[in-house]
Symmetry: C2
Subunit: 400 residues, 2 copies
């Protein structure tokens, strides 16, 4: 029996690759500080669970394919507050931001199509784009330039006749880069001039540690036909397990096609949608407190990593990740060593090796993504372990 060529081009998740070694290390009595996955430890708002406890319908029925009206309305209200007027027909509720990406890629890519994505990027983009027959054309960046990419000439240099879209995670995963208003304008202009979709994966929108209002590509009205937004409650409300996201666009032709796929998979989980709608009742005080907590963690993490000799890392301005180049020969080898050989008081640390976030072969080999999702005391200890690990590894393995 045959397997498809597209799936064979895909890889397992680099965030989960070292899981078996972690299990072994834990079985051997080591405590591991997990900075490898973006699973926050922030409490999910109680409103979510209250809805579940109060659910009284005797039959757990299908929801409408485009989403439960109560959640669609909650999303409309949320976007109105940031100055974007979406009609109900501009929104399809999806099973996490992940399904929004899948639907979108299958609607806009043909075999051979290319999507421009700044590199390093969220590795699951690769799978979603490959399965639609397309490939990622990376927009190159460097740790020394703080992974910034929104330069007109740089992006235009990547465009060819197969280019269908520019896709950015903003705030950035894995880099923590936050686009300025001017940089977003650059992207909008390029998309407009070249007739490309501009896809804003904005699931970390609230997690920006500077001042200023919340930003969305959807705020650029002159490119509303080009703009597609990927959204989710996962990070916004620390509700990753709800699997509730959305695909949003004012491009009616695109949304009509997306609706075919939405209908074919029937609906998104009814109770999770109902409960997610209640999350949108969380006000500025909720977001303020969560942002404050992450900002503290970012500050701690960045202050500590800067003190490790040889590390290259720009201060991340958003999301809850930072990407850093380490003074090691190979981050995967180093991670394996941390799990198998290293310990400090029976403890070690895990991050996501950088290579999996790149498409260009060899790039990211000495880089890591650090998810600062742990509470501060754990984060401090984890960074201390990283520092000690690097020192020991350089001395004992690299002999430098």
């Amino acid at each position: 029996m045959k397997l498809s060529e597209n799936i064979q081009k895909c890889n397992l998740s680099p965030m989960r690759k070292f899981h078996p070694y972690a299990v072994e290390a834990e079985a051997a009595g080591k405590k591991i500080y997990h900075l490898n996955i973006g699973q926050p430890d922030i409490k999910t708002p109680e409103a979510y669970f209250q809805v579940l406890k109060g659910f009284e319908q005797p039959v757990l029925a299908y929801a409408p394919s485009p989403g439960l009206p109560v959640l669609v309305e909650a999303l409309r209200g949320y976007y109105q507050k940031i100055g974007v007027e979406f009609e109900a027909g501009d929104i399809i509720v999806t099973t996490g931001g992940s399904e929004a990406l899948q639907i979108l890629m299958l609607c806009i890519l043909d075999p051979g199509s290319e999507v421009l994505v700044p590199e390093p990027f969220y590795p699951n983009y690769n799978t979603m784009i490959n399965l639609a027959g397309g490939t990622i054309h990376p927009i190159p960046t460097t740790p020394e330039e703080g992974y910034r990419y929104a330069v007109k000439e740089k992006i235009e240099g990547c465009i060819n006749e197969n280019t269908r879209a520019i896709m950015v995670t903003n705030p950035g995963n894995p880099t923590g880069v936050v686009l300025s208003r001017e940089e977003m304008r650059v992207l909008a202009d390029v998309a407009k001039e070249h007739g490309l979709y501009i896809i804003g994966d904005e699931v970390y929108r609230e997690f920006v540690y500077g001042d200023g209002p919340l930003a969305s590509m959807a705020q650029f009205e002159d490119v509303e036909e080009n703009v597609v937004i990927i959204d989710s409650v996962s990070k916004r409300f620390s509700a990753c397990g709800a699997r509730v996201g959305a695909l949003l666009s004012k491009n009616k032709g695109l949304m009509a096609q997306a609706m075919k796929m939405a209908q074919s998979r029937l609906s998104v989980a009814t109770l999770d949608q109902t409960a997610s709608a209640a999350l949108y009742g969380c006000g500025p005080e909720y977001f303020g407190a969560v942002k404050e907590e992450y900002k503290k963690r970012r500050d701690t993490c960045y202050a500590m990593i800067q003190k490790i000799p040889g590390v290259v890392c720009a201060e991340p301005q958003g999301a809850f990740y930072m990407m850093a180049a380490l003074p090691v020969d190979d981050a995967e080898k180093f991670q394996l060593w941390l799990l198998e050989e290293f310990e400090d008081n029976k403890e070690t640390v895990m991050f996501a090796p950088g290579g999996g976030f790149y498409r260009t072969p060899g790039k990211g080999a000495n880089e890591v993504r650090i998810a600062y999702v742990l509470k501060e005391e754990d984060l401090k200890r984890a960074m201390e372990l990283l520092k000690k690990g690097i020192e020991t590894y350089r001395r004992e393995v690299m002999h430098v």
Copy 2:
């Protein structure tokens, strides 16, 4: 901006096509009996809601990509009872049976691949297969032969170098056909001889109105490399809104590929998985009562439709659908007329016109799918409306 060729080949759901006309009819004061969608009115077992009420974890976190262990174990236990030993690695929990189908098609089809599917078929297969670049090659059937298809020569006549799989819904949607043991063996033999996947979409497994044990393609051990099972809690436990299904196969190579896609979409909703695991605690008395209820409905429905002159309909033996050829010129035209022109004491009826269940142009034009998902008194009234509707339509519209 371009749209993919694959999505443009897809259609909206035929089950939902007449929804706008139904809304208008209801606004005009008509009551509609809905036999058009497979949304049962059976109560979801209380165990589901009890789990939600008792959930105490403060953070609604991602579940593991292949599924929550408690649910994977529940599925293993369920299959053991019907004589099938699945290992944990043979199971990937999915967002409904729909996601299992999507993952599978993207893993096994290349552009130009064909999947043999008995016609009429569940229309969403079309979308899932088209989006993976494939097409359905229909295995023809007729209402006069009771839509049976498991004949070796008939199936082999459809195989060519592009054929990758044979896919059957058993018990059947939309036909209610249940394969005999001998017919399943025919399918297994053809798959084995021609090196094809044999996909058993068995989400209606419990709904069989004859005697005998529950059947699964997975029970044929000599073809375990070929067999893929699509499963779901939606119909089994009247929990359509849970969106919890599974992809099951002992083909390790296939499951390794499927895992890439499972990881890329992260996980299935955590609470729905936890609650679905509890559903598997329902015992024979639950299934017995539900089956009894559906059998009564089937009997009522079939007894009444047989009495309508000119209708061709074999007694359905499973699921909760029947397909019937009506003595009308065009089932879509007739459905529209039922909504817009017809009424009996301010009431009318809806079904799913048959054309959308066929790929062969023109086939199914005078057929309808009837979902007997309403309680008996409503079902009786709905069938009475169908009878009166046919009589009036023939007299006033067809002038016969």
